[in-house]
């Protein structure tokens, strides 16, 4: 394999590897697309790690839609008609997912723009294969950089106590102004799949 081909193969491998990012499992219906996130009527998916006995002996992880937050309580919708109030002082750490990470989108776009280079090098270009691949390197560099930054910056996740305070989570709740009066929280439903 020529050095040109090897370099391109490495770049492609790099692109593939960066797209293999790990992400904590959240329900598909709460992994909002960029377009969806602007008009979505639901709260964002949140994972709380709490000290459930208040004495530091037992830790618990609770995940659900962020419903609302008042002075000392966070309300998570963990299932249909099941809302769990959690004392905010017991939260050890929390992650809130605002929208879908776009690394996959950037991977797809980069790959599409590199299709002519790949096809050209394999099918048509003969001994130009290496050169045709080389033409794609600037695009591959830009694409990989975007994918890496999108994957590693985690700007789609609010993180307590790392980069955010709990109060900043409030705006991503179903009821950001706080719990409305005269409603029964136990009537709430999770966002259905595919809606």
């Amino acid at each position: 394999m020529s050095s040109n081909k090897m370099m391109m193969a490495l770049l492609i491998a790099g692109i593939l590897m960066t797209s293999c990012k790990t992400m904590k499992t959240i329900p598909d219906s709460y992994n909002f697309t960029v377009k969806e996130s602007r008009g979505n009527p639901y709260g964002c998916w949140t994972v709380l790690n709490i000290n459930s006995l208040q004495n530091g002996l037992v830790h618990d992880t609770i995940a659900g839609e962020f419903v609302c937050m008042d002075a000392d309580t966070i309300y998570l919708l963990v299932g249909d008609r099941i809302v769990r109030p959690i004392y905010s002082g017991s939260v050890l750490n929390a992650q809130l997912y605002t929208h879908k990470n776009q690394a996959g989108t950037y991977f797809t776009i980069t790959s599409l723009f590199l299709v002519p280079n790949l096809i050209g090098s394999v099918v048509v270009a003969g001994e130009f294969a290496g050169d045709i691949l080389l033409l794609g390197i600037p695009m591959a560099v830009v694409g990989i950089t975007h994918i890496i930054i999108e994957s590693s910056a985690h700007r789609n996740i609010l993180n307590y106590p790392g980069k955010n305070i709990l109060d900043e989570f409030k705006m991503f709740a179903r009821f950001p102004a706080g719990k409305p009066s005269n409603i029964d929280l136990n009537q709430l439903m999770l966002k259905p799949r595919g809606k």
């Binding site: 008009g39 950037y106 002519p116 270009a125 001994e127 975007h146 590693s152 950001p176 102004a177 409305p180």
Partner: protein, 525 residues
């Protein structure tokens, strides 16, 4: 890739990547009062009601006098069941029934959402991706426009390696071997040692018999220039023309300085060998022994036609070249006539009797580096010196035209390389081949050498490069698909008609050819 190109590419990458940042959803809350002076009225807003309901409004409005928001979109109850939706076109008549009316008193909070960086990232990917895909598709479908060059030389200019010259571009086979002299116009003044980089950036085999420096001691700013016949003259008092007119009009600004700002035009769409004329006028200051200085290089027209004829010859290209090498002078003449059809730059001077007389022709081939040629002029007694250049349209890029007074013929110091480095290691075998000349240096695509020359004494010099050799263009696999001996014969036997027949295809490629050529030169990584 040329170092400058690499720097530009790096700069572009930095610009593109500078704005690259992870996508972020920014949510803000505002009061209904703040909506009266919103930053962006097209923004989607969410209006949270005190009873837990929610309006998601795609379009909305509020007036300064009103305490009600009007809008279209969706209304949800606290369980997020959609209660109603209004998606009519929203008009300025906000009182109309086809919109939600939301009294301020029912509102708990107004929320805006903004996605940061996503659009910028998509734009950056597109800015890089679209040209990459287009250039690649073009190169794949028309590879003769890409990946070509000739023996290439770099010297230091302002302390950085810069492209200076190309060697024996017309020497496409052993029988066409010849020497070539190029002025190293932009090279830095150096003492004691001069360095050159020699590269093979094409799919070609370069056979280089020698690469000698021709040095002239600097003398009070007087420059030495070379004629096509290899004579050198020291000059003084260089003046620009008072007018330069081509078919597009005034072109004086393009040819006043040797600055790579060149005068050129497109080839004729019906006949690639059609000629054009450029008229120059100089003031005659009554001096004798004048010479015209012309800095020029070719466009990629010759390269394109050469590759096209090679493609037509296909598998027979090797045997046709062998025929020429074995003394088939008729075939050699046919090839020569094909190139003669394009021709060089003919120089005419208007004599005292107003008749134009041809005095010389510059036909140095090669699209990479401009070279300056000196054309000796006969004595003229008119107040104005009128010169006419006749050249094939779209074949030449003219960078510089000036008149110089010749102060005397000069003989250069010839300097052979003293040290040759390949990949930063001393290469004594390459040195021996370049110095002795009987066993030439052979370079392959991607090869790079650095040649060092010891200068004779403690003074500065002006340099020329004298090279001798030839090169063998490699047949490309996909060119073989175009093999057509009838077309090859047509090109060789009817060059005039061939220039007409080949014009439409060349015109299609012409606008992109230069850009793609410079972006696609082959350098071993």
């Amino acid at each position: 890739m040329k170092k400058n190109n690499a720097s530009i590419l790096l700069f572009l990458l930095i610009i593109i990547l500078a704005g690259c940042s992870g996508t972020q959803l920014i949510k803000s809350s505002m009061s209904p009062e703040m909506l009266k002076n919103p930053i962006n009225k097209n923004e989607i807003i969410k209006i949270h009601l005190k009873d837990g309901g929610l309006y998601v409004l795609n379009k909305w409005m509020i007036t300064n006098s009103s305490d009600t928001i009007f809008g279209i979109g969706q209304l949800y109850n606290y369980k997020r069941e959609q209660i109603s939706e209004i998606s009519n076109d929203f008009t300025t008549k906000y009182e109309q029934v086809n919109s939600f009316s939301i009294p301020e008193s029912e509102i708990a909070l107004v929320e805006t959402n903004k996605i940061m960086n996503h659009l910028g990232n998509l734009t950056a990917l597109s800015i890089m991706g679209v040209p990459t895909a287009l250039v690649t598709i073009y190169c794949v479908t028309n590879p003769k426009a890409c990946f070509g060059s000739c023996p290439t030389f770099y010297a230091l200019k302002n302390g950085k390696w810069a492209l200076m010259a190309e060697g024996f571009s017309s020497s496409i086979a052993p029988s066409f071997e010849k020497k070539d002299i190029d002025m190293l116009y932009w090279a830095d003044d150096v003492r004691d040692e001069m360095s050159l980089k020699l590269t093979n950036e094409a799919l070609e085999t370069h056979v280089i018999r020698y690469v000698d420096l021709l040095a002239f001691p600097e003398s009070g700013g007087e420059k030495v220039f070379a004629t096509e016949k290899g004579q050198f003259y020291r000059t003084s008092r260089i003046v620009s023309p008072v007018s330069c007119v081509a078919e597009e009009g005034d072109c004086l600004s393009q040819i006043k300085e040797m600055d790579r700002y060149e005068r050129f035009c497109g080839a004729d769409p019906k006949n690639l060998s059609r000629k054009e004329e450029i008229l120059l006028t100089f003031n005659n200051e009554g001096q004798s022994d004048l010479g015209l200085l012309m800095g020029s290089k070719q466009t990629l027209l010759t390269t394109h036609l050469f590759y096209q004829v090679m493609a037509y010859m296909g598998n027979y290209y090797g045997s046709i070249v062998s025929e020429v090498e074995n003394g088939n002078s008729q075939l050699e003449n046919r090839i020569q006539k094909l190139w003669d059809k394009l021709g060089g730059i003919e120089i005419f001077i208007q004599k005292d009797n107003k008749k134009w007389v041809k005095i010389d022709e510059i036909d140095e081939m090669g699209p990479i580096a401009s070279d300056i040629h000196l054309i000796k002029l006969p004595s003229i007694h008119q107040k104005k010196i009128n010169i006419k250049l006749r050249l094939t349209k779209g074949l030449w890029r003219i960078d510089y035209l000036a008149l110089a007074r010749l102060t005397g013929e000069e003989t250069p110091f010839r300097i052979k390389p003293d040290l040759v480095l390949k990949d930063d290691s001393i290469d004594n075998e390459a040195l021996e081949r370049l110095v002795k000349g009987d066993n030439p240096l052979i370079t392959l695509p991607g090869d790079k050498y650095e040649l060092k020359y010891k200068l004779p004494s403690d003074c500065t010099f002006q340099f020329f490069l004298e090279t001798k050799g030839y090169y063998l263009e490699w047949m490309r696999e996909q060119w073989l698909e175009e093999e057509n001996l009838k077309k090859a014969a047509f090109a060789l036997y009817f060059p005039g008609l061939f220039m007409k027949k080949a014009a439409p295809e060349y015109k299609k490629a012409e606008p992109f050819m230069e850009k793609i050529f410079w972006e696609s030169r082959y350098v071993k990584q």
